[in-house]
């Protein structure tokens, strides 16, 4: 947990990120693009390729 005055590691990381983001707008935009790409890739994998939402399979051995 972060303590009062933002001395905890999370608060420090947050402050560091905000400071750097303000000075590196292009980097933030690229990171946002990569994140969008990655999230869509995960979504596509889950919906189309993972089989985790696929049909129930007939298992003859346990019939």
């Amino acid at each position: 947990m972060s303590g009062k005055g933002g001395k905890g590691p999370l608060a420090r990381s947050k402050a560091w990120l905000i400071d750097h983001a303000a000075g590196h707008g292009t980097l933030v935009a690229v990171a946002a693009g990569c994140l969008a790409f990655a999230l869509l890739a995960v979504l596509l994998w889950f919906l189309v390729f993972s089989g985790l939402n696929g049909p129930v399979q007939f298992v003859y051995a346990g019939f």
């Binding site: 935009a29 946002a32 693009g33 990569c34 790409f37 919906l47 696929g54 049909p55």
Partner: protein, 434 residues
């Protein structure tokens, strides 16, 4: 220009320069970053789809695909119809297609697929696919096949109390097939409305049903997304389907005609193989299955008169076939006589089931291959449910005769009269003339 004016102009230029240097601002830059990610994803997706995934058209012609039983095959009507053998007919069924040469060496893959008989069976369907799934598939496939004679393999367990395994329909539902079913103009609005209502009742999402039916422009847009993503999924499974397809036998590859198979010899072979595989029980069930499942008895006190929805779905399937120009042969599989006796399913119940199926066929004007007389024929089934050594030979023989328009002891309905069955003189006996 005074000094004061010069100072103002300098400040204004500096301000403009500063604004120009910050364009695009942080918010817009973020937006552009996300848009760039989406665009890159679309481009990468299209590239992968085009370059990495097999297409649903013609595959390696040295293989035979009709008898492959694999997830993702039956839902891909484009692949199945593009790779059907020339003399093949669509066969809609379920888990019986799982039975392969390893267990029953006279299964269709061997008898038809490795010969030059001129007849083949293209399997469509997997375990748990029942009448409604088949109705959708029949509507989807009808316009893509030139051979209009088809077989529908009906399993008794679809009509167990509570409509068999209908609860699994929503997970077996194929958007691609349903979309193609809805797009078939030969099927009446009334039939489409029935299928839609049944699919909804069995748990298919309203959004998918609205999309496939194109209720609104937004639904039509959804339909494109649903269909394309499902096609992508099906293409991702094609490598496995292709790898499971056996190479054509030398005889098959030569294209030589071998004529009608020798059914009597096949029955004799079936008896010998059945006897060899079934040694630890009196039911004619193969040993490995018996060891695992002898205590498993889902037939215990079953009945066939609490499945009105499934009977109605079967009638719908025959209606779809008629409207779509298909000529179906309904294969009525028998129950396992001695096993059902042990399970306390009365002969009245069993006869009620057969009679009701025959009635639905007669009402639709459809032919049927009625194997109800084979309940006690040893080795007709290989376990308590699926056709085995004798069973497949009898089904293949009747199917062959149906395709060629000749008489057969088990064919009935639609101009064939009533099926005479096993006791008929016409019924092939093992080793006749062999």
């Amino acid at each position: 220009m005074t000094d004061a004016n010069r100072d103002d102009a300098t400040v204004e230029e500096a301000s403009q320069s500063s604004r120009a240097g910050r364009w695009p601002g942080p918010g817009l830059r973020l937006l552009l970053g996300v848009a760039g990610g989406l665009l890159a994803f679309s481009v990468a997706g299209l590239a992968v789809a085009e370059l990495a995934l097999p297409k649903s058209g013609r595959a390696d012609e040295s293989r035979i695909y009709d008898y492959v039983y694999a997830s993702g095959k039956s839902e891909n009507s484009s692949f199945v119809t593009a790779n059907m053998s020339a003399g093949s007919r669509l066969c809609f069924g379920s888990s019986e297609f799982y039975i392969s040469k390893d267990l029953v060496s006279m299964c269709p893959q061997a008898v038809f697929g490795e010969s030059g008989s001129g007849v083949d069976m293209t399997y469509v369907g997997e375990g748990y696919d029942q009448s409604l799934w088949q109705a959708i598939a029949a509507g989807a496939y009808a316009r893509k096949t030139t051979n209009k004679k088809v077989m529908l393999v009906v399993s008794p367990q679809w009509f167990f109390k509570g409509n068999g395994e209908q609860s699994k329909f929503s997970s077996k539902f194929s958007y691609s097939l349903y979309q193609e079913f809805c797009d078939n103009p030969d099927i009446s609005d009334q039939t489409k409305a029935y299928v839609r209502q049944r699919a909804q009742a069995l748990g298919v999402g309203t959004t998918e049903l609205r999309a496939a039916n194109g209720d609104t422009p937004l639904d039509r847009l959804n339909a494109v997304a649903y269909y394309q993503s499902d096609q992508l999924r099906l293409r991702s499974k094609l490598s496995n389907v292709i790898s499971l397809a056996p190479k054509k036998s030398v005889l098959r590859a030569s294209g030589e005609s071998t004529g009608e198979p020798d059914w009597a010899a096949l029955l004799a072979q079936a008896d010998a193989e059945g006897a060899q595989r079934c040694t630890n029980n009196d039911y004619g069930v193969y040993d490995a299955y018996w060891e695992k499942n002898s205590q498993y008895d889902p037939e215990w006190y079953q009945n066939f008169h609490e499945a009105d929805d499934e009977y109605a779905d079967l009638a719908c399937l025959l209606r779809v076939c008629k409207e779509a120009g298909l000529e179906p042969l309904v294969c009525i599989l028998p129950v396992h006589g001695s096993w059902y006796d042990r399970s306390n399913v009365s002969q009245d119940e069993r006869q009620y089931y057969y009679q009701r199926i025959r009635g639905i066929c007669d009402e639709a004007g459809s032919a049927y291959a009625d194997f109800s007389s084979c309940e006690y024929e040893r080795y007709f089934l290989c376990d308590t449910v699926h056709p085995g050594w004798r069973g497949w030979v009898r089904i293949e023989e009747s199917f062959y005769h149906f395709v060629n328009g000749t008489k057969d002891a088990f064919l009935g309905g639609a101009g064939y009269g009533s099926a005479e069955g096993l006791t008929s003189e016409r019924a092939t006996q093992a080793g006749e003339g062999a």
